[in-house]
Every structure is written in C-alpha cells, then in structure tokens.
Symmetry: C2
Subunit: 350 residues, 2 copies
C-alpha cells in the first residue's frame, strides 16, 4: 500500500482522537496527509505523529476538503453537522458518535462481524456503541455456530467511555477518598471511585437508559436480526479503560462448551482466555491496550434450554471506539484494493 491516504480527525485531542492517532501509526495505515482538527480551545497544540510534530487546527468546513477519510470523534452534535459536510466534500466519513447509527441509509459496522454492510455505502459509516461492539466480538461467533435467539447482558463499563474527563474524575475521586472527602461529580452524577453507577447515558420512558437501548438496537442492526430480544443493564464501574460484559444468551441449536470455545478461538479479533483451572479469564487490566477482545468464562447455561453464559472484555478506547473506526477504513481500503481502484484514487493525491 502506498502512504497516500488523506486522513482527517475531528476531536484529535480528545480521548478517542488521541488513541486513533496512535493506532494509525501502530497499524501502519498508509497515511499520506493527516489533518488534526479540534475545538478552538485546542487549536495550536502540537501533536507527534511518526516522529513529526503536527499542529492541531480549528475545525472549520474548509478543512474538510480534499480528504479520503474523515473520522469524527467529537460527539453526536458535531457529527450531525460535520457528517454531511464531510461527505459533500468528498470524504468517507467514519462517525464515532450515535448520531447516524440507526439511520437505515448508514451502515453500522464491526468489520469482523458485518463487513458486507460497507458495500454500496453513501459516504457516511457509523462506528457502534462501545459496549455493543465489544459484546458482539464474543457473541457473533456463537451466533454463527448456534443461531442467537435472545440475550441478557449486564455491563461493567470503564470511565473512559465518558472521555478523558471520566478518567480524570476517577483519579480525582480516589485522591479525594484518601483525604477522607467525597469524590467529585462533574462528569458522572455520583462519585465513581469505589462505587457503581447503574446509569450510563440518559434515562428513557420505561426505565431503561439510552445506553441499554443502544445495545439492543445496534446489536439487531449489526447482526441483521430485526426484533432480536435484548435486555441490558448498563453499569459504570471504577475501571479506567476496558469494558466487561456478562452475557447470557439463548440459541436455536443445542449448544456445547467445546464448540463454543472453538468458534470464539477461530473468530478474528477475539482471543479465547478460558482456563478457569489456571485462574485465566479476561481481565480489564490485562485487556487494556490490546487490539483483541478477550472472551472467557464460557459455560453451558444452567437456567436456559440452549443457553451459554460468557464474559467479554475489550479496550473501550480501542475496539470500543478508535480501533473499530480505523478497521472500518482498513476494510474499505482492502475492498477497494480487491476491486483494483485504490491505486487510481490514490494516484491523484500522491
């Protein structure tokens, strides 16, 4: 691949933007030009990329011209404006927010699960909710093997899901606790250190949160299972950057543990860590900074007719956000390569 792809990042100094920069470098994405965009407050900051210093510029419409890929990592409100502008300017826009995920015209993609959804996209592609993407890395191979009927999930979500401010609030909360004081509650509605908040995103009528409904709706869309029954309880926990999900699911076909383990082990992007006799199972501290999601505690569920229970852990900032977004671009590049169009497009920007 030639280093000829023109990439823009909106929100380049935020928690996800910073990780995306690191991943572009670590995964040798063929970046020819890199445009780092952020709020006026962050404009002028200098950021290292491949040994060079790049200046962060303020996000403006004019900055969106001449890009092959535009990654939006600055929240749903900005995405709603910048997404269509980016597409109009000719970029493939990969949006990390919830703004377009449920738009039937917009593919919502976990590349290992539904890469086919990228074909014929209209320029805008949505990156899923973090818990959803990570859960599906454990569940998709089991769905392929046994046919998913319904699922119940409880999440254990890291503070990184609330951005850099969430991680700072956990650190500050621990320090406050050591001084015998109550922790801050600026990012989260209650102190997060040594606590559990059964509240991620806003509440909706009926008592579910929007995060819990994202898990339901996005799982249905990505798996192509309209009406899939999904019930979820989403909980914020005092962990820095890896989400964990306790999944119990029922399947159409009879299940068994060894087939389930083999299916997970063979699935790209999933790592089977399932040796309970050796105290080996997925741990947030070990999965932080890992590309693969870890899957373990796989067992034939004792309460359900064809059920499996499992424990899935993934880096929230990577597979839950920046990595999956970059993998979408990588998949598009590979699809274009296969179709023989990459060289032609890239030659114009060499």
């Amino acid at each position: 691949m030639q280093s000829s792809v023109r990439v823009g990042i909106v929100g380049a100094t935020g928690a996800v933007g910073v990780e995306l920069l690191e991943l572009l470098e670590r995964r040798n994405f063929p970046v020819g030009e890199l445009r780092l965009l952020a709020s006026a407050r962050s404009a002028g900051r200098r950021v290292a990329f491949r040994g060079e210093e790049l200046e962060v510029r303020e996000t403006r419409e004019a900055e969106l011209a001449g890009l092959d890929y535009l990654f939006l990592c600055a929240g749903a409100e900005q995405s709603r404006t910048l997404g269509p502008l980016g597409v109009k300017a000719g970029a493939v826009v990969i949006d990390n927010s919830s703004a377009f995920r449920m738009d039937p015209e917009v593919p919502l993609v976990v590349p290992e699960v539904n890469p086919e959804a990228l074909r014929g996209h209209g320029g805008l592609i949505a990156n899923p909710n973090c818990s959803t993407a990570i859960t599906l890395m454990g569940l998709a191979p089991l769905h392929e093997a046994f046919g998913l009927e319904w699922m119940i999930c409880s999440t254990y979500q890291a503070v990184s899901g609330a951005g850099a401010g969430g991680m700072e609030e956990l650190t500050a909360g621990v320090e406050a606790w050591q001084r015998g004081e109550e922790g801050p509650r600026e990012v989260f509605p209650h102190p997060i250190a040594f606590n559990l908040l059964p509240h991620v995103d806003r509440f909706e009528p009926g008592g579910y949160t929007r995060e819990e409904h994202k898990m339901r709706d996005e799982s249905r869309k990505i798996l192509g299972l309209e009406g899939l029954p999904v019930s979820c309880t989403c909980v914020r926990v005092p962990v820095f950057r890896a989400h964990a999900i306790s999944v119990t699911a029922n399947f159409r076909e009879p299940v068994d543990r060894e087939t389930a383990r083999a299916a997970v082990a063979a699935f790209p992007g999933a790592q089977l860590i399932d040796e309970p006799e050796a105290n080996r199972y997925p741990l947030p501290l070990e999965v932080s900074g890992e590309m693969d999601c870890a899957v373990g505690r796989i067992r034939v569920d004792e309460a359900l007719p064809n059920g499996l229970s499992l424990w899935v852990v993934g880096d929230q900032l990577w597979k839950g956000a920046a990595l999956n977004a970059l993998q979408i671009a990588e998949t598009l590049e590979a699809q274009a390569d296969a179709a023989g169009v990459t060289a032609a497009r890239h030659s114009s920007s060499d």
Copy 2:
C-alpha cells in the same frame, strides 16, 4: 426484654465479627454476657462493647458452655467442628459459613423471607451467602407478587466478601497503582484495584464457580422453590463493602412496574430507591453502613414474556453477613417471647 442473653462470637476480631459487635450494640440486643473468641493469635486483644473493655479469648471447647447464642464467623472449616460442639453445649448456633447451608436438617434463613423455617430447628441455623441474601431482599417481594419462574443474575461483589484482608488488598492496590506498580495478589488471584475478577470462590466442573452455585442452591432453599432455574455470573469489583446484583427474572403472572415497586416498598428490610428521572438509584457508597437493602432500576424487561429487571444493593458485612445473623437471633427471641418462654429461659442466667 431483659439484658440477659448470653452471646458468644467465634471470629470476634474478623471483618464480620467486628460488625456483629457493633450491631449487637446499635440494635440493643439484650446481651447479658458476651464472650469474644478468636484464634490464639488474637487472644488477649481488648475490644470495646457498650463502654466496657472485653478481652478476646482463644476459642476452645470449654468456652462454648453456658451460651444462649453462638455466632460462628470464622470460616467453614472451624464451623464444621464448632457447630456441633456449640449445639451439644446447649447454644443456638448461628453459622455464617457455607458449612451447613445445604444440610436438609439445618434451616437457611433470611428472616424477612422465610422466618417460618426457624420453627423446630435443631440448634444449628445457617446464615446465607452474602450475594444470595441481598438478591433475595429485592426478589422475594416480586416472587410474592408475581411468582418467580427463573432468574439470571450478574453480581458486582465488594472486596469485604473476602474479609478484612480483601479490603486491605484493595487499599494497597490503589497505592501501588499510584506508584506505578502492580497491585498485590495475595487475597485475590489478580490485582483488584481498577480491575474486575469474574471469579469468586473456586471453579467447579462445567465452568461455574462455587459462589455461582451457592446463589442457585441457596435461593432455591430459602424461597422453597426446588429446581428453580438460576444462572449467575459472580464478579469481584473494586468496591469496599456493598454488593450489587443485576437481576433479570421471569414470572408466572403478568408483571407491571408499579405493582413491582409497591411490593418492594412494602417489604421489610428493602428500601425502594427508584427515581431515575432524579438520578436516584441504589449506590454501593450510599448503602454501605445501611441496614436496609436498596432496590431500584425496576423495569418491565424488554426481552422476556413476563420479565422484570432490577438492581439490588446491600451492605455485604451487614445484610450479607452480621446483620442477617443477628436478625436470626432477634427473630428467635421474638418467636420465644410470643410463645412465653423467653422469661423462663432467661431467668436462669440473670
């Protein structure tokens, strides 16, 4: 009530024993004599009770004589020996360990749920597993209202469940993290600070843990529902002393949110905290040091035909251990009072 009850505590200096002492005082249990027993290592320590200093003595068979109630708070191995000895010596033995819980001759009691199981006991009464007792404080009123069919739980268990050493290891782990070092792994198999361990008690064949099977087996026994399908995932989290449980359950009768909330609110020992619109739901930090278990996030489950999902939080050292044990004694006292036998028995020890 006269202050005439002779009470012994084995494990008086451990995490649960210390809380039991505090609760005996706070709840004005009519203690006439208090015998504090512990390992040889702790013998000689002096402990305050109602303004007096009491000396901790080494646990020996001779110390078990002449007691009305003997609380065993020193682990299953000690309980297996001391339980029968205590009964033989004439005490009602309330055992906090798992040693006798599934013995069909031994009542396993949450006083708000199945006090009738105490009638006709043979001297030995088992105190349930902490997660089980707390879960049932939310689930029992819903079972009464709708008829429980099966349930799926994911736990968020505080480090106090592993005793004082568990709490010390979390503190030490936080300090290690601040120095940039890995946390200790003496009490837990992996560092617990900023981490999640899907591993409580030992693994059993098939991949469930013993803790997960306690939830299943003890729930069946306490609710009197033989064969109740229960599937549980038990997870240790970096929280000091309150357990939380995400419960999804299906019922025989149609469910609705307001009936469910009213049933919980009316249940003794349960506090309904369920105002999501005001960000009010049960939080481990708020429930620590509370007698009541808190129940919230009650909603009609979207994936099940007659399902409810809820979030239950209880103080692990209190309702999960010392408080429930003391409530068993309080219930026995009240039952004896009602039968007119208390005064007779107590007069002998005045």
